[in-house]
């Protein structure tokens, strides 16, 4: 097949699922109907650590309309071994089991499920379940458990531990003419997707289940259910066509799935369980990590020593791990480096991946420290970063497959007007507001996962493609439609993409910014296989215009196969299939990372973020009035949806810098602001202008040259805002969020 004109790849297209989403037709997990659907409502623990002494469900069960109250005392048996509860992305440890026994591991742990004929009855009866506890004192403050930190004995799959140190970081730091050594921290953050977690389990009558689950990849839920409940794969089909926001909270199956399936099997009836907003604060979260960054440099800012040490909270039952410190040695060249990452046990639910897990945390610390070094050495922040620019990934001693970070600095600075910045703090002002300009670098992995995809072309010229991964709002339906349409020379309107169904070809969860590369390549391969088959039929036709033409000399365009350098010689797909005697052509292909490319090159996306803040000097109120985010992430399939990915990352980064903060009362071990009125996230009034630039970058890790965009937009944004706050006020704030009390205090 000659290189096709590729009319859709790289062009801005509105989402193919747009009409469904703006008319209310797009259905989410908790919205599917079933005959005789029962409603489950979760009762949450009132203590953080200890055990249940008495659980009394009599009053709840007496409410007319209540069908069953499930507790640890009457629950049906499930699998015994931890192994059966470990989903595809579980960290090492013993996964939480709801209603397993009388032990309480975290505040808000589910302790009962009330199932009733309708939602209101279940909710009311849940308030009548009486519990008494034997409480123990909880520990939820990572700072108080710092001394008990440990290096995780078992590594989490896919998470690189810190590299071995090189040079002598301590000695070099001691001898360095300029030193920056500070501690950095941000609050625990909760994902809070707008759609609460929900599962609708449809009892099919013969033990088989159809499950609509809020998950970023249905195959993970299916695998979990087969393990926990001893079901065969063909006994449980899991679907989730739309996800109302995930950001990582939907990577692992959450407890409402377990409870809904347990109830449905026990009652032999369809059951739905939807969590409340406050229950959305009872599972995965971005952990509170204590970080120390030590930079030793020459008077010119050239790094001589680099230490980055982190201690992260995890639960007592799983060793959650993310990459926090490695970024420092990936971004900057230095001959004396030591990086450490440790965990400490807390009485909290296991943390989990939240948009750019680890990088958001580590790069905030590093890029704030670099800004401090810029001031300490009198360097421009961009000049300092260029001086220490890494051409190789020192953590793996490999060159980067591509790294156009210099272009990000140049184009971002130009668009932002960085050259007009006066570096002294408090030197820029507008009326009664202090103005601050700050910048930072972002970095994220460019990953690809083994994925399969299927494609079916029918004689009417319609193509259906798909796999089991999810479109988590990123635009996957749209970009796969573009890729498929290009591969067979069809209009996008003639292509339907199906996702989020275990009946489709298997693909992993949508996370890690790997979906465009992974599912995109698999879809492209499946379509090319179909193209080849139809081409073969076309060539075998009597008097075929394509006789004696090789596959690499034809193009697929406007529903026809044409000779690339002689478009008058062509055959329509329909004619070819008719001649071949088929009314459909199907293919399933899989694609995975190119291991030889991986061996040779490191793969990362990069960004430069420029932020302007305006701060009311008397009130201390911070407004982020302008952000320019320049991204180097390979080829962009759809500039419209790609831009939205970056906008979303920047908005969440602004939230992390200024607003997001789970406030724990450590005496109780409980999040006290477990609602969207008090756990602040950005709203319309908080977000002003955001400008996104995609710089040109050629990458060869996968055939499309894409590197992933879901996470890079958030990384570094928090540091850019914090650095702008310093520039505006002269106040260096190293603990996020930057709230008014920290500005005027």
């Amino acid at each position: 097949m000659a290189s096709s004109p590729e009319p859709y790849f790289g062009t801005a297209r509105s989402r193919v699922d747009g009409p469904a989403k703006v008319t209310g037709q797009a259905k989410y997990a908790g919205e599917f109907e079933a005959r005789d659907l029962a409603h489950g409502y979760v009762v949450s623990s009132g203590i953080t650590r200890g055990k249940i002494a008495v659980i009394d469900t009599a009053e709840a069960e007496a409410v007319p309309g209540v069908i069953k109250v499930l507790t640890h005392e009457n629950r049906p048996r499930t699998a015994w071994l931890d192994y059966n509860y470990q989903d595809a992305v579980a960290p090492p440890g013993s996964p939480f089991r709801a209603l397993y026994d009388d032990k309480i591991h975290f505040s808000g742990q589910p302790v009962a499920l009330v199932v009733a004929e309708d939602f209101e009855t279940a909710r009311y009866a849940a308030s009548l379940v009486k519990l008494s506890y034997e409480a123990e004192e909880p520990e939820t403050d990572v700072a108080r458990k710092r001394d008990l930190s440990y290096t995780p004995p078992m590594k989490r799959a896919g998470i690189k531990p810190p590299p071995k140190p090189w040079g002598d970081a301590d000695a070099a730091f001691d001898g360095a003419p300029v030193k920056v050594q500070q501690e950095y921290r941000h609050a625990i953050e909760f994902h809070n997707p707008m759609e609460p977690h929900a599962s609708t389990v449809i009892w099919e009558g013969d033990g088989r289940l159809t499950v609509y689950d809020k998950i970023q990849g249905v195959s993970n839920s299916q695998g979990y259910l087969t393990g926990v409940f001893g079901l065969k794969k063909d006994e449980v089909r899991v679907l989730n066509p739309y996800l109302g926001g995930g950001f990582g909270s939907g990577l692992r199956p959450q407890y409402q799935l377990f409870l809904a399936v347990m109830a449905a099997r026990e009652l032999e009836r369809s059951v739905r369980v939807t969590l409340t907003r406050d229950q959305m604060f009872t599972f995965t979260h971005r952990p509170d990590v204590l970080q120390t960054v030590s930079l030793g440099a020459g008077p010119d800012g050239a790094l001589q020593a680099l230490r980055h040490d982190a201690v992260s909270g995890t639960s007592r039952y799983e060793d959650y791990q993310e990459v926090v410190v490695n970024w420092s040695a990936i971004l900057y060249r230095c001959e004396n480096v030591a990086l450490t990452y440790k965990l400490t046990h807390l009485d909290l639910p296991t943390p989990g991946d939240m948009r750019a897990p680890g990088a958001v945390t580590g790069v905030f610390a590093l890029e704030t420290a670099m800004d401090e070094l810029a001031y300490a050495t009198g360097q421009d922040p961009i000049a300092l970063r260029l001086k220490n620019y890494s051409e190789r990934d020192q953590t793996e001693d490999k060159p980067f497959g591509s790294k156009e970070l210099r272009a990000c600095f140049a184009e971002g600075a130009e668009r932002f007007g960085w050259s007009k910045r006066t570096p002294e703090p408090r030197s820029m002002r507008e009326g009664k507001e202090l103005v601050g300009w700050g910048m930072a670098t972002g970095v994220w992995e460019s990953l690809m996962q083994q994925s399969s995809a299927q494609a079916t072309l029918t004689a009417d010229g319609k193509l259906v493609v798909g796999n089991s991964t999810g479109d988590i709002g990123t635009g996957t339906y749209t970009i796969l439609t573009q890729i498929a349409a290009d591969a067979l020379g069809l209009r996008m309107e003639d292509v339907t993409t199906k996702l989020g169904d275990t009946a489709l070809a298997e693909a992993p969860v949508a996370g890690g910014s790997w979906t465009a590369a992974s599912s995109g390549t698999a879809v492209m391969k499946a379509c090319r296989t179909i193209a080849n088959q139809v081409f073969t039929m076309a060539r075998r036709m009597d008097h075929s215009p394509l006789a004696n033409v090789d596959f690499d000399r034809v193009v697929f365009r406007d529903g026809r196969i044409a000779v690339a350098d002689d478009p008058t010689r062509s055959v329509s797909l329909a004619e070819a299939m008719k001649a071949g005697g088929v009314d459909r052509v199907e293919a399933t292909e899989s694609a995975g990372p190119d291991s030889s490319h991986q061996k040779e090159f490191s793969a990362y996306t990069h960004s430069a973020i420029f932020a302007e803040v305006k701060i009311d000097e008397e009130l201390g109120q911070v407004r982020v009035t302008r952000v320019v985010s320049a991204i180097a992430a390979g080829k962009v399939i759809n500039p419209k949806t790609a831009r939205s990915q970056i906008l979303g990352g920047v908005v969440m980064g602004i939230g992390g810098a200024l607003e997001e903060e789970a406030m724990l009362d450590h005496r109780l071990g409980r999040v006290m602001n477990h609602n969207l009125g008090e756990y602040h996230v950005p709203v319309h009034a908080d977000i002003y202008d955001i400008d996104v630039i995609f710089v040109d970058e050629v990458d060869k890790a996968n055939p499309m040259g894409v590197k992933g965009l879901g996470e890079i937009g958030i990384v570094g944004t928090m540091a850019a805002v914090a650095n702008a706050v310093f520039h505006a006020t002269g106040k260096r704030i190293r603990e996020l969020p930057i709230t008014i009390d920290k500005i005027i205090g």
């Binding site: 509105s14 989402r15 747009g18 009409p19 989403k21 703006v22 008319t23 209310g24 037709q25 797009a26 259905k27 989410y28 919205e31 109907e33 009053e59 007496a62 409410v63 007319p64 309309g65 009733a116 004929e117 309708d118 939602f119 209101e120 009311y124 997707p193 707008m194 759609e195 609460p196 739309y242 109302g244 926001g245 995930g246 939807t274 409340t276 907003r277 709002g473 990123t474 635009g475 419209k640 949806t641 831009r643 939205s644 990915q645 906008l647 979303g648 990352g649 920047v650 908005v651 969440m652 609602n675 969207l676 009125g677 996230v681 950005p682 709203v683 319309h684 009034a685 977000i687 955001i690």
Partner: protein, 172 residues
């Protein structure tokens, strides 16, 4: 009706009300403790209206009640007896067309959503803003729309979409 505190009540207690939903007059038997939001979603299968927090803090459940935007999670259905309700499913009818409401078209064009879960609330809220008539600038739009959270962070695109509709003069 009053319910004595702490005493179990029958789940089948129902009150008859009349609502006009998306132009269709309906007589409904609803329990007094059922919110307008749960009535729409659980009993009428109008799941376009979303439940994000059930506390009036996120705006995902925004619908138009007699033309005014309201958090449907904070209204008991029985309190709205006689009201005209417009949900996202009926929004297009407001503009008199069979296709999309100008706001719906502008949202698609400006990529004013990602996951789509807050979108029905953003759209109904925006329709309310248009009807209120006092948001013209971007700052005024932002202020007026700040009861509707978008966790995907599509805010700038949402404001672009609403501004586009206001400037084109198309009204809901």
């Amino acid at each position: 009706m009053l319910i004595e505190s702490g005493s179990p009540i029958a789940a089948d207690t129902k009150v008859e009300i009349g609502l006009t939903i998306n132009g269709e007059a309906r007589r409904l038997q609803v329990a007094p403790w059922t919110t307008l939001l749960d009535l729409l979603r659980e009993q009428l299968d109008l799941t376009g209206t979303k439940k994000g927090c059930d506390h009036g803090q996120c705006g995902a459940c925004t619908v138009l009640v007699n033309g005014t935007r309201v958090n449907s999670c904070l209204a008991l259905a029985v309190m709205k007896d006689g009201a005209e309700i417009t949900t996202v499913e009926g929004l297009a009818k407001l503009s008199g067309g069979n296709g999309l409401h100008p706001l719906q078209e502008a949202f698609v064009e400006h990529d004013a959503f990602q996951c789509g879960y807050c979108t029905p609330g953003q759209l109904c809220s925006a329709a309310g803003v248009l009807a209120e008539g006092h948001a013209r600038t971007r700052d005024e739009i932002r202020e007026a729309m700040s009861g509707n959270i978008c966790r995907c962070g599509a805010y700038t695109n949402i404001v672009d979409a609403i501004e586009d509709v206001i400037q084109s003069g198309a009204q809901g």
